[in-house]
Symmetry: D3
Subunit: 188 residues, 6 copies
């Protein structure tokens, strides 16, 4: 039981670790937990469209894909040029003493190898979450975001993911709630 | 496609809405996305132990359970005494224009009614995530957390959840990484 | 005496509750206390121009108008479409055990009904404070602020308030201190 | 009109200037606007008890008392040993071009001289607001707050203010909302 | 020994005092410690180019130049119009009980008088650090930064510092890491 | 010239990278720039006591010792168990195109090898800065800090550093300014 508790406190630190790319982007920010949350939902959405994909597996994979960062820290694209992360060891240490640890380790390795249908979906979901954040920052006035977006969209794998990215780039991040119903906004 | 993009920007605002209970607790804090992330992992863990539970459903339910708060806002226990939230309307508005909206709405309603095995697991997971946060704040010096914990543990439903809570209350939140290997800490 | 102390701690939580509209605006932010502070000063200013207005009453009304939010939470325009707030109950609970509670409750109700001269002034002051914040964010680069401003100015009631809003939209938010006296800026 | 707008943007910067004492206290924090907000409410409360006090004047005085800090900055008790602030000049500059500037200047000077009934009430209110914050931080675990409180209560002038301070020191800052009604907390 | 410890805790508060100019700029921010850190590095760089400059002295001077602000607070250009700071007293109080206090005091006075080669270099370094921050904020979308930059560059003394400032204004603040190697960004 | 500008923007990111150990400690926080600032001052202080030490070199070494983290990121003691950082490559990349790059690289390598007098002083200064922060957090109520301190003091090398640490552990972090002169605190 203590193993489970320790594991849950470990998962909790992902709420406190900021994703380091934002230090370079200059505006915005989120925790690893924030990120994984929406990656899981995007993965679900992508998987629902693919008959051969196991949607639930893609969701779990997305929830777990950054779990090792509780131990290794979060590395952005600049950091990665200088650092070698022993993720296998981190995965082993986090998973070895809990009963479902093997399943978690397996899903993380599958995500990293990027071969299976679900892994490719989850990796696209990982990128799309960042593309949505970059678009948001662009809408809020950060002129650098445009260049980051150019590179980010190139990392996408599937055709659908790319079309979704095109649509993201054309959609104002406030559109979902800013319905142009003047009556609501003046008298509400 | 635009509907999906708008939905994803909507999901993104959950990363920016702070859970309001912390204003009253006085220390700590997290976003709704942070919270839902670990609730989903706890639900997975609880469901793996219950043969009759659909673990994957419990995970999805946990990911979606606070989605309506993107529209309604987050209400803590004090707020709830004064506010009536039309969650059904929020669920409908968020879900109506996306193809998988029916599934999301259904899972949220199931969570709220708290009847099914998965709903009961997810509701315990919801509480356990907060219990873990309260314990963390207690470890960091917030003397109020003790009283909050007393009430929080009473909201738990299953026997296993209660035993897990007992173990949480006896475990230092740093134990998972603070291995007492002096060599590491002095020479590392 | 304890009632007074509890009331004052309750008032204090307004310093810790962020105004939720900024989650949607994307930049900026303020507490309910921050907001009420300047609303009171704006109301004073508006009332001084209106011979029939009781300036002091307008100031008190502005200071108290969001007091119930210590219990109900702060709801932005999106939230308000999905939530019914029992403000009367909140007002009653906050006011019942202090001697001047009746006066506070009366002022809040008067503000909400928006009928009296002072109430209309205070409601305009409420809007103008937000218009000033939106203009500030616009000056700092948030392109969304323009659209929000369009709707916000339409909520104003009096002719003077609208003219003041026009002037706000034409004034750089730094002008009050950025006197173009080069000598000061180079040698100061 | 522009003078009024510039004045209002100037008032707005008080929402962005943190009260510097908290850098030394180590926990907590608030803006000058946050502080003035509750000082005004406390002054109202103190004045209602004193038949010879003009409650409305005490409220206005409290709202304006730190207005010059938009230009001078906020100085804590350590800073004050090393700095001479030309507050008269700041008051003059902020007030000279608005029609009600004379009234504001007059109230600030009255507050600073601390002679009149209202000035003494407002100065006690100024201290009481900080005492409430120190008590809050003490409740949250900051052991330094006790010593700060010892000195703060000695700055109070009136007998009622001192009795109020005694009551503050004996009241848990969460008591106003943490009603021990288990039913609410378990089933709410 | 205690004097040294007290001195080091005093130095530590510079990490907690925000540089107040950013309240007026509206975006960005840094502590006095952050600022002094890069000023020291810039001073080193400027001094290495000047044969007659004592590079090490310029570095120490830069590290110490804002030490008195631990006691006096940080004053921006608006504050300085209204405040007289007794920096000598602050320097004396901070330095009197430590053995190397005389050296610190001497360096601070030298910096303030701005006469020596090193003092002039350090003062340019002080400005250049802020110019770099303003450029960063400009790149991130703050349109006000342009005007601040106009005045800031005029405060520079040496020809080299002015040329360096010209180059800063033409360089994107992300250029140092955003190498346009598409391979890195797409496959990294 | 552009190389220098790029180098200075690179140095600037150290103001934005939080030192990751605080995510685990739970309270407090500082940037790499904040940290390096006081490490440099502590190194100066330690070197002044050692006749054979080049104080100026120790200061520069301290200022530069974490420069590579602009590229590699900051790794705490947990991260270091899982990550191999190619610091030499980071040092090379940051230094290769500026004229004084060789000196910076040399000082960083000297610090890392920990052999020279100055390197040992600077490494002790690195630890002492963290010990001061841990003591501060302990004073503010974080009960975990005690255990961290136990291990941190063991990493110190010189006898003087250890005695300084003992004194730190016995000194209240507020003592430097909280002079018990009641007159100041009541009437100031």
């Amino acid at each position: 039981m203590k193993n489970i508790v320790n594991f849950l406190f470990e998962v909790g630190i992902l709420k406190k670790i900021p994703r380091s790319g934002y230090q370079f982007l200059g505006t915005g920010g989120e925790s690893i937990a924030d990120h994984s949350f929406r990656v899981a939902i995007i993965a679900y959405l992508l998987a629902k469209r693919e008959p051969e994909a196991d949607a639930q597996k893609a969701v779990l994979m997305s929830l777990f894909h950054d779990l090792p960062e509780a131990r290794t820290g979060d590395h952005n694209y600049v950091n990665k040029r200088y650092v070698v992360v022993n993720e296998d060891k981190a995965v082993e240490d986090l998973a070895h003493s809990i009963s479902f640890g093997g399943e978690i380790a397996s899903l993380i390795h599958e995500f990293n190898s990027g071969q299976s249908v679900e892994a490719r979906l989850a990796r696209d979901a990982d990128q799309l979450d960042f593309i949505l954040e970059l678009k948001r920052q662009q809408d809020l006035g950060n002129g650098s975001a445009a260049e980051w977006l150019t590179y980010s969209v190139k990392r996408l794998g599937s055709a659908f993911a790319k079309r979704l990215a095109d649509e993201i780039l054309k959609t104002d991040s406030s559109e979902w709630w800013f319905t142009k119903k003047e009556e609501l906004w003046v008298n509400g």
